[in-house]
């Protein structure tokens, strides 16, 4: 809708950009952005405006303000991965997905905050501090929260965004941009999407180029898309998907961007409910929502059946072996020689490496490097890495079997509960939290399948809860169609934020959910 507003001249790209920049400033306490590229964004908005005046916009995304997670390379704009290792690092090139968005005329507002090197499920472990969930400051949450004691104010009650793409999710959720890029390796786009009440899409592995995305696990990473509605996700997907010669893991097939039907129909579909996703620790609230959702589909005429993915419970352990192994390998390049942080220690090359890496990486990163190297040792390789790869194939086969038996889409919860307060979250370490929080999202990365979080309802505490759909490889159209139908049914409420009201976004005021398509 904002796109048509731009076309019709009801609002100009520069105005839009300025409003978003102002909103970013007034929501700074969320700590969603690491870098705000004010100058370049305004320039891009100006260029876009010229194009609209000529009646020649580049496409639907022309002039649309977007944000990008800070583990994507952006030429001329700092890329830090929320790590000391890359503080001040200015990349000379744009990631393919960033370039594609810029080529479409999108306006890049800035780089969003994350867990250091995307390792974490809270967006709390980066060097620039944790990201705060905008819903912490929503009327919905404040109304429901009962302060435990006088001394406690809303300051200490704020909840996490989830992670690791928390900054991107918060940015979209607080209306500072219309879409954001995240990354998803074990759930890093879907998890924060669920906690922040936005749509989080993890595309099929190989559909979107990873060139320029600083890797965590090369064999599982994908760029993720965060938007306020499913239609928008489809538009962004359309502009990003397709073969990239610079990324040999992208498929060669020609990708055809699609539009979703305005009145999606699910009556001919078969929805699978995997019983293993009724995981220990799943809140009764979410369980109930999941059940209600299944009923919704049933009532619409879809076939809803229980299915089994028996190897689900091994996926976390398997992920830890494969993830840490790849991390150990991918982080080997950070030696302080060519770029990034270099320690002052210069007694010898080795001591310089050691000091640089100790100073540059946080505990989480170092912990994973050590574990990964352990698993890759000659004496351990067979028992850990090879075994984990075999288990990975079993997990992928579980999905193949289920999809092969006629199921079109799977419906599962995205998270075990709604967002927890920060002070609760930090009581457990990163590794424990990741193991707990990734459990519902991780398997899709193992199998390379597309999956999407759709905001469903508010919890008793007034915080967002989402549900996840997992689809067949490269069947994003069907997946998003189901998601869109569901989105229309549940009519997830808009966040009521003081700051947003203050900025009088009349583009959003009269709509139930703001979108740009």
């Amino acid at each position: 809708q904002v796109s048509s507003a731009l076309k019709e001249g009801r609002v100009t790209p520069t105005e839009l950009c300025q409003r978003c920049l102002a909103l970013i400033k007034s929501t700074r306490f969320l700590n969603a952005y690491i870098t705000v590229a004010e100058e370049t964004a305004l320039k891009q908005a100006e260029e876009s405006e010229k194009r609209y005046k000529r009646g020649q916009p580049l496409g639907v995304l022309d002039g649309i303000p977007i944000a990008v997670k800070d583990n994507f390379n952006t030429a001329g704009i700092e890329t830090t991965c929320a790590s000391n290792m890359l503080k001040g690092y200015i990349s000379p090139y744009n990631a393919t997905v960033v370039q594609k968005l810029l080529d479409q005329g999108a306006v890049l507002l800035g780089k969003t905050n994350l867990d250091e090197f995307a390792m974490g499920s809270g967006s709390t472990d980066g060097v620039f501090g944790p990201v705060r969930n905008p819903w912490s400051y929503s009327r919905q949450y404040k109304e429901k929260s009962v302060p435990k004691s006088h001394s406690e104010d809303e300051e200490s009650n704020w909840v996490i965004t989830g992670g690791s793409s928390g900054g991107s999710a918060a940015a979209v959720s607080s209306f500072t941009c219309f879409a954001a890029l995240g990354s998803d390796t074990g759930g890093s786009t879907r998890n924060p999407a669920a906690h922040c009440g936005v749509v989080g899409l993890k595309p099929t592995y190989g559909l979107i180029s990873r060139h320029g995305l600083i890797p965590l696990v090369n064999s599982m990473d994908v760029p993720g898309i965060l938007t306020r509605c499913v239609d928008d996700a489809a538009v962004v997907l359309g502009s990003l998907a397709g073969h990239d010669p610079k990324d040999s893991t992208t498929i060669q097939d020609n990708f055809k961007p699609f539009e979703l039907p305005s009145l999606p129909d699910v009556s001919k579909l078969s929805i699978g409910i995997p019983k293993e996703y009724h995981a220990p620790g799943l809140s009764s609230e979410i369980l109930a929502l999941w059940s209600k959702a299944a009923d919704l589909f049933k009532n619409a005429g879809a076939k809803v059946i229980e299915v089994s993915l028996p190897h689900t419970r091994y996926s976390i352990v398997c992920y830890h072996v494969l993830c840490t192994a790849e991390v150990a390998s991918n982080m080997a390049r950070f030696d302080g020689l060519e770029y990034g942080h270099r320690s002052d220690m210069n007694k010898s090359t080795e001591s310089m490496y050691a000091a640089t890496r100790r100073e540059g990486f946080n505990d989480v990163v170092r912990g994973r490097i050590l574990s990964g190297n352990y698993f890759l040792l000659k004496q351990n390789y067979e028992n850990y890495f090879i075994k984990a790869q075999k288990v990975r194939r079993l997990i992928a086969n579980d999905f193949l079997k289920v999809f092969g038996s006629g199921v079109d889409t799977l419906l599962t919860p995205t998270t075990l509960s709604d967002a927890v307060p920060y002070r609760e979250f930090i009581k457990e370490d990163n590794r424990t939290r990741s193991a707990q929080d990734d459990i519902l999202t991780q398997a899709a990365n193992m199998a390379g399948l597309p999956a999407i979080n759709v905001p469903t309802a508010l919890s008793e505490r007034g915080l967002p809860v989402g549900l996840q759909f997992i689809g067949r490889s490269f069947q994003e159209k069907q997946l998003l169609t189901v998601a869109k139908w569901f989105e229309k049914q549940v009519k997830f409420p808009m966040i009521q934020l003081e700051e947003v009201k203050r900025h009088n976004h009349d583009v959003f005021q009269h709509q139930k959910s703001a979108s740009f398509s």
Binding site: A332, R333, D335, L377, K378
Partner: protein
């Protein structure tokens, strides 16, 4: 002396320059071992030794761009001027396989009689070093592109170059991998300078089975490999420019006993030094063991000035390279005529059969053809191919002269070649062209000058003053006198002269 250690006769091991005590002096080699390899003897009365030599050869692929990135491949460019983002390991960059490098490896594999693996894989080999920006090298450890081949080479078995014997060394595998950058240690300022121009250049690592037994064999095998690579064009294989690097694994054992501990010898910069290094190391190990010592499984560097091997300080302790599959490169799939899908674009794939059909004549084939076509000896054909451009020179001369090739070859190999060697010139730099040579030989063939005179003319031609052979002959009055009467008159004058004394 150019003799080999294979065959019926084995020479005694001689002392190398600046080598250890002459414990072998005066000993005659015992009969050759069952394998036909050399069996050097130790001190009199002790059991003989069998040296085992295995070579690992890295050949830089001759291509415009690097193995996984688009930056150029060029020798001696300004430091860090040929480095792409990927070569510098900038975060987020990904490898993209260079088709030409794959073709070069397939050609080489076919020329070495290997089985080409239709599916091969890439792996990461991890270690920290200043010239390895990513902290790992992309190589092919699990399933390389080619396996189980063989290389035939020839040796002279006595110093007259009149008898050549053909030997074979088995090729274990050929793998594609990245070259590292170069690091220069500036000890005075306690710093290391790193040049990444070479980082990421494509290499073919050729791993040979330990079928060799001495420096001579190693040198001959590498020379033949070098010629093959240059003929194929898959590598320029110039050792001096680092395009061909040889590491030798050397061990010794008594016949019938298990293989001894091996050392790895590196830093060998020419084929001549290869032979020296291998022979030195064999000697060193024998002496060490006979004096009751042990051989350490270590890496040693060849010091060309001293002619010996020394332990390398850098490579201490055993490294665990933590091999892991390279996740950013799918398996490399090659096709042949049978397996090529009908609708596949020919430009998109590498077809083994297509490459096989277009292989040029290998050196061994070329030599055989020369022998057959010109009636020269096998040793001559070796000498012709051994010198860059000499075969063309020879063939051009033959084309332009009536002299029989069997006679021409003598002039080329014994006269021209020695001139070139004396003045350290390549055939291309020869001041005497094939045209001039042919002219000269024609004069000789027509008996207008003698053989001695021809050599004098050649000496003049060598000065490169632009005169033709005929001009020089006239100038120096070197013509053979055909007139009978004239000859008689001269002889008579000489006799008369003698009489007067």
């Amino acid at each position: 002396a150019a003799w080999g250690c294979g065959g019926v006769w084995c020479r005694a091991w001689q002392r190398g320059a600046g080598g250890p005590s002459p414990f072998l002096r005066g000993q005659r080699a015992a009969a050759s071992s069952a394998r036909g390899g050399a069996v050097p003897v130790g001190k009199s009365g002790l059991a003989p030794w069998v040296p085992v030599v295995g070579l690992e050869i890295h050949a830089q692929i001759s291509s415009n761009s690097k193995l996984f990135s688009g930056s150029q491949v060029q020798f001696a460019a300004p430091p860090n001027s040929l480095v792409s983002f990927f070569d510098a390991s900038l975060p987020g960059t990904l490898p993209v396989l260079n088709r030409r490098c794959v073709e070069a490896a397939v050609m080489t594999g076919l020329a070495l009689n290997c089985s080409i693996n239709k599916k091969s894989l890439f792996d990461r080999k991890h270690y920290f070093y200043a010239d390895l920006p990513a902290g790992y090298q992309i190589t092919q450890q699990r399933v390389p592109i080619a396996v189980n081949g063989s290389l035939s080479y020839s040796l002279c078995i006595d110093n007259k170059m009149s008898q050549m014997v053909t030997k074979t060394v088995r090729i274990k595998q050929i793998q594609l991998e990245q070259d590292s950058g170069k690091s220069l240690h500036d000890d005075r300022r306690s710093q290391t300078l790193v040049d990444l121009n070479r980082a990421g250049v494509g290499l073919m690592e050729v791993v040979m089975e330990p079928d060799l037994c001495c420096g001579e064999e190693a040198a001959a095998a590498v020379r033949e490999l070098q010629l093959i690579l240059q003929t194929l064009g898959s590598s320029q294989a110039v050792m001096a420019e680092g395009q061909l690097r040889v590491d030798a694994n050397v061990s010794v054992h008594h016949p019938g006993e298990p293989y001894g501990v091996r050392t790895e010898v590196k830093n060998i910069n020419s084929i001549r030094f290869l032979a020296k290094a291998v022979d030195y190391e064999i000697q060193r190990q024998i002496e060490e063991l006979e004096n009751g010592g042990t051989i350490l499984n270590e890496t040693r560097a060849f010091d060309s000035k001293l002619g010996c091997t020394v332990p390398m300080r850098d490579k201490e302790g055993k490294q665990d390279y933590r091999f892991m599959p390279e996740p950013n490169l799918p398996p490399l799939i090659l096709y042949d005529a049978k397996s090529l899908p009908a609708n596949m674009n020919h430009q998109q794939v590498v077809n083994i059969d297509w490459i096989h059909e277009r292989l040029p004549d290998l050196p061994s084939v070329k030599r055989a053809k020369l022998v057959e076509q010109y009636g020269i000896l096998p040793e001559h054909s070796f000498a012709l191919l051994n010198e860059d451009g000499l075969t063309e020179f020879f063939e051009n001369v033959v084309k332009q002269t009536q002299m029989k090739p069997k006679k021409v070859i003598g002039w080329i190999l014994n006269v021209l070649l020695s001139y070139l060697k004396q003045h350290s010139l390549t055939v291309k730099e020869s001041p005497v062209s094939s045209f001039m040579m042919a002219d000269l030989l024609n004069l000789l063939e027509k008996k207008e000058i003698s053989s001695t005179a021809a050599k004098q003319v050649l000496a003049e031609l060598w000065k490169g003053e632009g005169k033709s052979p005929l001009e020089i002959v006239k100038e120096k009055k070197l013509e053979l006198i055909q007139d009978q009467k004239e000859l008689e008159r001269i002889c008579q004058a000489v006799i008369d002269g003698q009489e007067n004394e």
